[in-house]
């Protein structure tokens, strides 16, 4: 399900701090808004300088009326520079890129459950926006280290999602991890959408594989091109038994997170190598 992508320079409408280290940025782009699907990402140039040189992949967080919103955490220099931009500054964006979540499949008998660890909630909010258009029983599980860093509860509740929260220090919601939350919800009708740090994803994998629950995971990987040309982000995958065997040779074992992903069926990933 390929979407068209664009290279655009847009004026930043807003860039606001929403927690100790997270920011929300908005800009208008009819092109991107018309194409973007939940789980897709934007590849953003954070500076005109050659240091840092590469773009940074950031998920689409929300789209409303051609306004694109991203939610990002300041990790290093790239996101640091992004956070310094102010409304009126220009932002240089490629996108929407990647495959996105396969959420159209969700039928009535399936219960969509979104599992976000930390900033992993970013692509899931956009997914929730779209899911609530087709079903009324969207559950979102949010894991954070502490109360202050929980993101988007209000927004998600406004969408009428069922929101459950865990914190590592017990300062809000369940004292535990988002995997603990998921464990309690597990049943075979679930359709799981996950995004978060790798250790969390591995735990989710162990959990859902036991119960054979359909799960899609959004992965992160260092990227150069972001469009599938450089093979920098390719990861080892295993062929899904369900699908027809593909005869294109060995390289089919590697998939590009940027182009074939970032969303994969959880069973496709060779988790030992992550």
């Amino acid at each position: 399900m390929r979407t068209k992508n664009f290279s655009v320079k847009k004026e930043i409408i807003e860039n606001t701090k929403v927690s100790s280290d997270c920011y929300r940025m908005t800009f208008e782009s009819k092109e991107i808004a018309g194409q973007a699907r939940p789980g897709q990402f934007l590849h953003i140039r954070c500076t005109e300088s050659y240091d840092p040189l590469l773009r940074r992949p950031i998920s689409v967080y929300s789209i409303e009326n051609n306004i694109i919103e991203i939610l990002y955490k300041v990790i290093g220099r790239g996101t640091g520079l992004l956070s310094k931009k102010t409304s009126g500054d220009t932002i240089d964006v490629l996108g929407p890129l990647g495959s996105g979540f396969d959420y159209q499949l969700v039928s009535n008998c399936q219960l969509p459950i979104l599992v976000g660890g930390g900033i992993g909630i970013a692509p899931l909010y956009f997914l929730a926006q779209r899911l609530v258009e087709q079903c009324s029983n969207v559950t979102v599980l949010i894991g954070a280290d502490t109360k202050r860093s929980i993101l988007c509860i209000d927004e998600l509740e406004k969408l009428d999602c069922k929101v459950k929260v865990s914190t590592d220090d017990g300062s809000f919601g369940l004292h535990g991890t988002v995997v603990d939350l998921l464990r309690k919800e597990l049943n075979s009708k679930l359709k799981v959408f996950v995004c978060g740090p790798v250790p969390m994803l591995k735990q989710v994998n162990q959990l859902v594989s036991k119960y054979n629950v359909s799960s899609q995971v959004s992965l992160e990987r260092q990227m150069a091109c972001g469009v599938g040309a450089c093979m920098g982000c390719a990861i080892k995958t295993q062929k899904l038994k369900l699908k027809r065997q593909n005869s294109k040779g060995k390289t089919q074992n590697y998939k590009r997170v940027c182009k074939d992903g970032p969303v994969f069926d959880i069973k496709e990933i060779v988790w030992e190598e992550m």
């Binding site: 992508n5 040189l53 091109c225 040779g249």
Partner: protein, 302 residues
């Protein structure tokens, strides 16, 4: 007033401008097709292919460094068969000269590949004897004699314009460039990546799973430019310059230093419009300087 033309003829490859894509940074031309007008390019150099498919190196394969990046892709590619049957037909659709790029670990592989690729409508063949991400010790292009032998053998089997891609990881680039020329190469491409490394001090591990990788991007430009300058003074075949070209001024520096054409690699990742902007920039430079042809720039360093 005579007509301004950006056209160049590199070893028999007729290009409407001197801007090529650098192998491995543009896939097989398809990935960027939505973002840019590929028809504008002088030529497309496809990603290196090998006889058999290669899965490449483990992750992480790329790491950003000051002014550049290290990669250790390890020549992941679907192999010659898929290239010929699936990739090339699509590439030809752009009506731009297509140059295949091949590699191997033995002379025989290069020869066999060159043979396979000779009558399938390619405009040229680049042989990558300088990829640092495969077997470490002993790139062909680090030894003038090995370079000579290999190029000689490939030359015998192909009538295609033959471009030899050289590594900067050598004491004297001119010796290797001369060896390639003497063995019958029609052009040399330089530079491939500089071998580099990066370490994560927290985990105490190399940042690349493959430990070492190839450095590209603006950081290597001064070295690349110097090598193009040195090599082009010592060979009479065209030199295709590359290494850190980001802007039309960068490209013009390479032309002035002696390149007859230039290739754009890492810059594509940073700004997919680079090639197109460079073409426009060179045109403007020619107008400003009242130049009519690219050879008015090539080697015209004062």
């Amino acid at each position: 007033m005579s007509k301004l033309s950006l056209g160049v003829d590199i070893a028999g490859i007729k290009m409407k401008n001197p801007i090529m894509t650098a192998s491995g940074t543009f896939g097989y031309g398809l990935e960027y097709s939505q973002l840019i007008d590929i028809k504008k390019f002088g030529a497309i150099v496809a990603k290196t292919i090998t006889l058999e498919p290669r899965i490449g190196n483990p992750q992480p394969r790329i790491v950003e460094v000051a002014g550049g990046m290290l990669n250790s892709i390890g020549l992941q590619n679907p192999g010659a068969k898929v290239f010929i049957e699936e990739k090339l037909p699509k590439l030809k659709g752009y009506r731009v000269p297509i140059i295949a790029n091949i590699s191997g670990s033995k002379e025989a592989e290069f020869v066999k590949l060159a043979d396979l690729l000779k009558d399938i409508g390619l405009s040229g063949l680049e042989i990558n004897i300088s990829c640092p991400n495969v077997e470490r010790a002993g790139l062909f292009a680090q030894d003038a004699n090995l370079t000579y032998q290999l190029v000689k053998k490939v030359r015998k089997v192909t009538g295609l314009p033959l471009i030899v891609k050289l590594t900067p990881n050598v004491t004297d680039i001119t010796l290797i460039a001369r060896a390639a020329e003497d063995a019958g190469a029609d052009a040399v491409s330089l530079i491939n990546t500089l071998i580099g490394m990066s370490i994560d001090v927290q985990t105490k591990k190399p940042k690349l799973a493959n430990v070492i990788g190839g450095l590209s991007g603006p950081a290597v430009k001064p070295v690349a430019l110097r090598m193009v300058y040195e090599a082009s003074k010592k060979v009479s075949i065209p030199v295709i310059g590359m290494g850190g070209i980001m802007t039309s001024d960068d490209a013009i520096e390479f032309l002035l230093a002696g390149a007859s054409a230039v290739a754009i690699g890492t810059a594509n990742f940073v700004n997919p419009n680079t090639c197109s902007e460079i073409i426009d920039g060179i045109k403007k430079y020619m107008e400003d300087n009242r130049f009519n042809k690219i050879s008015d720039i090539t080697g015209k360093l004062k």
